[in-house]
Subunit: 299 residues, 2 copies
């Protein structure tokens, strides 16, 4: 089945202990849609400026990503510049230029409105809510957010959470939002707010899934090649929803497998800067790494 | 088979967001031997002062712990005072009174020298080395340490590591010791130094096991009841080695199961202050939680 990804399309400047790259392809919607495209036909909705290089669009096309929802806006593409220190756990922002993102207010076309699997990457929750209200027959919706929106638009975020199936947050975000350091307790509170399920992204420590009925703890991958964490969470989300859409199976067992597929895709994404590892990624590598996850977590 | 645990016996003053307790039973050897005692006959070696309450010795006796290696030293028992902040990830020391620990230089009796399974809890690596040199027929040895010894006695610690089978460290310690933030890389370096296997304790994020041949990622437990993290690592180690000794099976499969048993015991220990949860713990609860671990990590 089809996947719709809504989020940012960016030109990033990223510095890690392994190098510095300027003006490279990035953005939450790009990372998520590329990851999803390995499993399902994927449409991307996001704004680009006049300076957005055609080669990046060509790359999205090679992954069969539908660009009908791409919004060409007069002005410059959204830009983020940041760095990671030695342990690479935390992104430090040097500069954010919202540019065309300020005018982004997507109206889905008749085709996109009917997409069954929808991932709303990190964006202003007011825009996320507007998109949710445009969907005609969603089978599964997932949403990501960040500390900035938790602090500044808590109430709108509540509205978004009531309407979606899966809420994705990292540990710091869910602790902040639910005002407790205890992750299982925070997840339970978030489900009480109306989310059907919560996925807590733990970076190098794996991921946790909570629903009313069960808990799943996905192992971390023993990552020796690790050059740039940017986009890990979005690659996770793209793999997760892409695999669910491919199988169309929303059973507990398949949701668990989809969390592992998300972890697999994130583990590849961080092996190189930007989307560079994803450009080289082969399907057999995904299968092999999934099997590795099974092997090293078995007892 | 028998287990020998060498480490500290302490009177702790601990403050967490859930309360403050003064002069409670603690110490690495106490936490580890109590945990091990659920699986195997366990002997404790450590120093106590004249002020050590008889009721604590009675408690160790109710768990059938052999106290022949307990050293009664003139003076006061080792005392540690510390607190944990809201997220309880990091112990902050307020005060350390080494007292009788300064004179602790254990000589094992003929019986203890023959113990096949030995856990050297966090102690001066020079003492750890002396104990290793007294062992006559060790089947499996494991050692823990801390940042203080990594900084102050790196060379002696190297010698210890060359002689033991399992090295247990937390993430911060192994990163510091092997001078890389990359845990799998750090583990590989530690194995090159001579350790047969490395267990990286990740607190709320589970545990990782590395050997030359395989990697195992143990899931974290969704801990909602969490009152005092003190002794979690030692409870893990005690459960790990106690279960290995009980089964006498050093196959890969059983070592993986022992890591889970260690995680189970740590998850109980932190549910209450001091050893209070362990006083109430029943064997059927251990089995049930092990099954829970299997269930929530299956995919």
């Amino acid at each position: 089945m089809q996947v719709l990804v809504v989020g940012t399309i960016a030109l990033d400047t990223v510095e890690t202990p392994f190098g510095k790259k300027e003006g490279i392809l990035g953005g939450s919607a790009v990372h998520a849609s590329i990851s999803s495209s390995f499993f399902s036909n994927t449409s991307i909705v996001g704004p680009v400026g006049e300076d957005f290089p055609a080669e990046h669009l060509d790359f999205l096309k090679t992954r069969n990503i539908n660009l009908s929802g791409l919004e060409n806006i007069k002005g410059k593409t959204f830009r983020w510049s940041g760095y990671y220190e030695f342990d690479m756990n935390q992104a430090h922002t040097r500069d954010t230029q919202l540019n065309v993102l300020l005018e982004f207010n997507p109206v889905l076309d008749a085709n996109l409105k009917k997409t069954p699997f929808v991932f709303l990457a990190n964006l202003d929750p007011e825009i996320q809510l507007k998109i949710l209200n445009q969907l005609e027959c969603p089978k599964l919706t997932a949403v990501d957010t960040m500390d900035f929106w938790i602090k500044s638009k808590r109430d709108v975020l509540h509205e978004v959470i009531k309407k979606v199936d899966f809420v994705l947050m990292n540990e710091g975000e869910i602790r902040m939002f639910m005002e407790t350091p205890n992750i299982p307790l925070a997840a339970r509170r978030l489900i009480k707010l109306g989310a059907k399920a919560v996925i807590v992204k733990q970076g190098e420590h794996g991921a946790l899934l909570f629903t009313d009925d069960y808990h799943f703890s996905a192992p971390s991958y023993p990552q020796e090649i690790f050059r740039d964490p940017t986009g890990a969470g979005d690659s996770f989300a793209g793999g997760f929803i892409g695999y669910l859409a491919k199988t169309g199976d929303l059973s507990e067992g398949n949701i668990r497998r989809s969390v592992i597929i998300g972890s697999v895709m994130a583990s590849f994404n961080i092996e190189d800067f930007s989307l560079d590892r994803m450009r080289r990624l082969k399907v057999h590598e995904i299968i092999e790494r999934f099997d590795e996850f099974k092997k090293f977590s078995d007892f």
